[in-house]
């Protein structure tokens, strides 16, 4: 059994070498998860600015908007208005898989579209070039929709992308054109971009088609992006249970799904951070309630399915769900038991995203691994402490500039599917998310927006058996002889959602923590070097 310094001591150690002001700021974001008697967790200063020069994991607003939320939809042409780089870097790099219906069906996800603006556009404005680019895209492909994304310089020179989009939409008549003011400097991370994407999809797309698909149990899956095929697994589960997936936002999706998203009877929220805005707005305008689900982890998947079945209060659905769980869990438990013999007691750290650092703790627990520390890259306080802190969150200057839509019940289309009271009586929560910290161990370390320096310190102090982060962190971590599992792109593996995904993940972690290569780093002529010799000598 490894022993560690106290979490408080680690916290001090992490900020020791920072300038005083930097250390002070970081201490607000590095928290010892001390729960009080009522189970309440301490406050964490999330969703605040990253310190210049500190080497954060974070990306920008544009990445959250175009890359995360809009990226996975195959039949929208995503046209980036800006210099070439922004579009280039978001070209196929997020592993969103998609399955077009037929060989002729639209799929633009393999393409990269950009206005590639030049210095003369910076000086004289880029609207003309944007208009022309939209026209050229329309003439070449005749898409159903074109999304326009503003990048940093476009915001500064004041191009009015929304007017251009509206004019082009009117001109075409058969192509929805809409813009996203997701300039990279907005907000403090990708998170601002999620919000902007939510707003624009709600304004311009959701609600355009009131015709629901056939089905008795109509649900949406919000905040599931089909990395490595996760959505495919979930689609299969929903179908087996006899549920109708009206829309997924936005894994393996089409714009037609978005247009009818409001016709579901329940919204299931996977990634709370990136999509809670749409869930809230749909509820206000159309009366569709939402609750949090989690399909990462076999037990979490079972729990989420039962929650949905309880919501619909249908014996047939409940029976199907129970049957599926029983069938799937047999194999899951067999593999987990085997993997546990090699992974039990090992330790993990997770620093990634806005929901995954929480969700994946479930999977580690299922193979007996302990999470020593965790934190999000771009989450807010509610993702850490739970939604009960929402009224207490102060809106700062960086968040104030992100539009909050004023949404009211639609006089015609609003239909309350279930009141909060009815949901309580069915034993299901309403608009719930308890956050990551209440589910973590008492005194565990929580670090928001971890820096490169803090990452290195944690590796040095704890020597975890595995560290979960992203591509930028991966190879630095592994140079220390510790495997790094990428939880943004799954290291080109997956799927990890649902029951089959859980099995994939157990086997993957088993592979990583027990790989032979970690024992071969020292050459044989160094294996007998001083430290171990000394240790042996001391023993005898």
């Amino acid at each position: 059994m490894k022993t560690y310094p106290t979490t408080e001591a680690v916290r001090d150690e992490l900020v020791k070498s920072y300038p005083a002001k930097v250390a002070k700021k970081r201490l607000g974001q590095i928290v010892v998860n001390k729960k009080d008697e009522a189970g309440l967790v301490p406050e964490i200063k999330a969703n605040s600015r990253s310190i210049p020069g500190i080497i954060s994991q974070r990306g920008c607003c544009y990445a959250g908007c175009k890359g995360v939320v809009l990226g996975p939809t195959r039949d929208i042409i995503n046209l980036v208005h800006g210099p070439i780089g922004c579009s280039f870097y978001a070209w196929l790099t997020r592993r969103n898989q998609t399955r077009p219906e037929g060989s002729e069906s639209e799929n633009y996800m393999t393409y990269c579209f950009s206005t590639d603006i030049k210095d003369e556009n910076i000086v004289f404005g880029g609207e003309k070039k944007l208009r022309k680019a939209i026209q050229e895209a329309y003439d070449l492909f005749h898409p159903k929709a074109i999304g326009v994304f503003a990048t940093c310089p476009v915001g500064l020179i004041g191009d009015d992308i929304h007017t251009v989009a509206r004019e082009m939409k009117e001109k075409f008549g058969d192509c929805n054109v809409f813009g996203f003011s997701c300039e990279g400097y907005k907000g403090v991370s990708q998170s601002a971009g999620h919000h902007i994407a939510n707003n624009q999809l709600f304004k311009h797309v959701i609600g355009l088609n009131d015709q629901p698909p056939e089905g008795k149990f109509k649900v949406t899956l919000l905040g599931e992006y089909n990395i490595g095929g996760d959505s495919f697994i979930l689609e299969e589960i929903f179908e087996k249970c006899g549920m109708t997936l009206v829309a997924t936002l936005s894994g393996n999706s089409t714009i037609a799904q978005f247009e009818r998203a409001h016709t579901a009877d329940l919204n299931c929220v996977m990634c709370h951070r990136s999509i809670n805005y749409i869930a809230d707005m749909i509820e206000k305008k159309y009366g569709v309630p939402w609750f949090k689900v989690n399909f990462i982890g076999a037990k979490a998947t079972a729990k989420s399915l039962r929650k949905i079945a309880d919501y619909f209060e249908d014996a047939g659905l409940k029976e199907k769900v129970e049957k599926l769980i029983a069938e799937e869990m047999a194999e899951v438990e067999k593999v987990a038991a085997d993997v546990r013999t090699r992974c039990e007691g090992k330790t993990a750290m997770l620093f990634v995203g806005g929901s995954r650092a929480h969700h994946y703790q479930e999977l580690f627990a299922e193979i007996g691994m302990k999470t020593l520390a965790a934190g999000y890259e771009f989450a807010h306080r509610d993702d850490y402490e739970g939604r009960n802190v929402l009224p207490k969150i102060k809106v700062d200057a960086d968040s104030r500039n992100i539009e909050e839509l004023d949404v009211k019940a639609d006089p015609v289309k609003f239909r309350q599917r279930a009141t909060p009271e009815e949901m309580t009586s069915r034993g299901v929560p309403h608009r719930d998310y308890d956050g990551m910290m209440p589910e973590m161990e008492n005194n565990a370390l929580v670090v928001d927006d971890i820096s490169e320096h803090e990452t290195e310190e944690l590796l040095r102090i704890y020597k975890p058996d595995i560290f979960c982060a992203g591509i930028k962190e991966k190879y630095g971590i592994q140079k220390n002889g510790i495997p790094c599992k990428q939880l943004h792109n799954y290291d080109y593996g997956g799927p990890y959602a649902g029951f089959k995904g859980a099995i994939n993940f157990y086997l993957e972690i088993d592979r990583m923590v027990n790989a032979s290569v970690w024992k071969m780093i020292s050459p044989p002529w160094r294996k007998n070097d001083m430290p171990e010799l000394e240790a042996d000598y001391v023993k005898t």
């Binding site: 310190i51 920008c60 046209l79 077009p100 393409y111 050229e136 960086d398 630095g476």
Partner: protein, 461 residues
């Protein structure tokens, strides 16, 4: 089912819309160049997304840690300027990470608002934020001008401008500016210089940094790279040889005007002809004999070229990438009697067509060559749809065309996101030429083995 199912042969001229670009933006090139300085932390003066994207792309290409920091602009800094951000970044970086040098590059954001880096860095110095003996250099790299190649070139020029010191002394040593090549290529160039007994300072030099060994301990600043002290002395070296006019000419000229060091710029030594020129130039500059080892290496390359000629002869090739690489590759393909029929770079370069023509020497009369705006992989794919090719050479994005068109594909250039090798095995020099031949033959012969009829399936090729 096609991956690029909307790409059709019928051509429409585009003026405003770029589809599937054959380039990316300046700052990533500046970041790559800065990583070739020992103990350097590249710093991106812009939104944090730029830095994040550049680090991610370089990391995927090298499967190595790529450390860099950002000024993390917010909406406030976009309005009021990024001075406060850069000052805080400089202080935080030196206190926390202790590099020898910070190499700042700008972005479209900081360029559009007009941040004055000279003034800001001056202020940092005044305020004591730059520790004694440490350096902060900067390059202007607006994303809306040129391409990633331009950014690389600008950072290399900035290294000269801000680090080279004019001197009255002339050392028996040359400067070698390698251009945008891989760490493996830089290592190979140094080996050739060593074999030819020519003393040189090469900059930038990413070997040892982006191919660092697994030692069980992460080093933020690995052993490789040109040191600040070596850079200072480039002003005392007697000659500058620059490889690749698009990437290296401006730095060579800067050294010439600042430190009065004569220079010449030749094409990157990829393939037989360009390597011959390189070796002969070194012989002339260094006043040395060409050692037997080098001549033997050349002989081995020519040997394979003659042994396997039948598989290259008249094969139509499409290639895309960066101007310097493409010019030398084109020459090599023509020396193999191949037909590089489609050549595309998104990097604007007015010298490009003429240099390609020079490399071709009239051997590919109907070649289509395009550079600059809307010269992209979509255009090239349309050409391929019109009349197919036998081989594709370019970065990883070519795999979508390769699969759709069922065409052999050799990965070369930047970025390569799905294979390793480019950082370990060179493509420059005679040895690098052999590797290129091996890769092309593997791709084409694997395809032949996969597709030939049973009765004509061959054991020996």
């Amino acid at each position: 089912m096609a991956l690029l199912r909307h790409t059709k042969a019928n051509m429409t001229e585009r003026e405003a819309l770029t589809i599937n670009p054959a380039k990316t933006c300046q700052p990533i090139g500046a970041m790559y160049a800065a990583l070739g300085i020992h103990g350097c932390l590249p710093h991106s003066h812009g939104s944090q997304g730029c830095c994040s994207y550049h680090r991610s792309t370089l990391t995927r290409h090298y499967k190595e840690p790529v450390m860099a920091s950002t000024s993390a602009f917010t909406e406030g800094s976009a309005v009021f300027g990024g001075q406060a951000n850069l000052l805080q970044a400089i202080e935080t970086i030196f206190t926390t990470y202790d590099p020898e040098i910070i190499a700042v590059h700008t972005t479209c954001l900081s360029e559009t608002i007009g941040d004055d880096l000279v003034q800001i860095i001056g202020k940092a110095k005044e305020e004591g934020k730059i520790p004694k003996g440490k350096r902060v250099i900067h390059a202007s790299t607006p994303s809306y001008v040129g391409s990633h190649v331009t950014g690389f070139s600008n950072m290399v020029k900035a290294m000269v401008k801000l680090l080279a010191e004019p001197s009255d002394i002339r050392l028996r040593k040359i400067n070698l500016i390698p251009g945008w090549v891989e760490p493996s290529d830089m290592r190979e160039i140094k080996r050739i210089l060593g074999v030819m007994k020519i003393d040189a300072t090469m900059f930038p030099d990413t070997s040892g940094i982006l191919d660092s060994p697994q030692s069980g301990k992460f080093e933020m600043f690995p052993e490789g790279g040109v040191t600040v002290a070596q850079m200072a002395k480039t002003g005392a070296n007697c000659y500058t040889l620059a490889l690749g006019p698009t990437t290296s000419l401006s730095a060579a000229q800067e050294l010439e005007s600042k430190c009065k060091i004569p220079s010449e710029t030749i094409e990157i030594p990829i393939g037989l002809g360009a390597t011959d020129t390189f070796v002969e130039t070194l012989r002339r500059i260094g006043m040395v004999e060409i050692p037997k080892t080098i001549e033997e290496e050349r002989g081995r390359l020519v040997d394979v070229m003659s042994d396997m000629h039948q598989y290259f002869y008249q094969k139509r090739v499409a290639l895309w990438g960066d101007p310097d690489q493409l010019v030398s590759l084109t020459g090599f393909l023509c020396d193999l009697d191949m037909k590089p029929v489609y050549i595309v770079t998104g990097t604007p370069d007015p010298t490009f067509e003429a240099r390609i023509a020079q490399a071709m020497k009239g051997r590919v009369p109907n070649a289509k060559v395009r550079q600059g705006p809307c010269s992209d992989m979509f255009l090239m794919h349309q050409w391929i749809k019109e009349e197919p090719v036998d081989l594709l050479i370019g970065n990883t994005y070519g795999k979508y065309i390769a699969r759709d068109e069922n065409t052999p594909f050799v990965r070369h250039g930047f970025p390569i996101l799905d294979r390793i090798g480019h950082s370990y095995f060179p493509s420059v020099g005679y040895v690098g030429g052999l590797r290129l031949l091996e890769k092309m033959l593997d791709a084409m012969l694997d395809n032949k083995d996969r597709t030939s009829l049973e009765e004509s399936f061959e054991l020996v090729l």
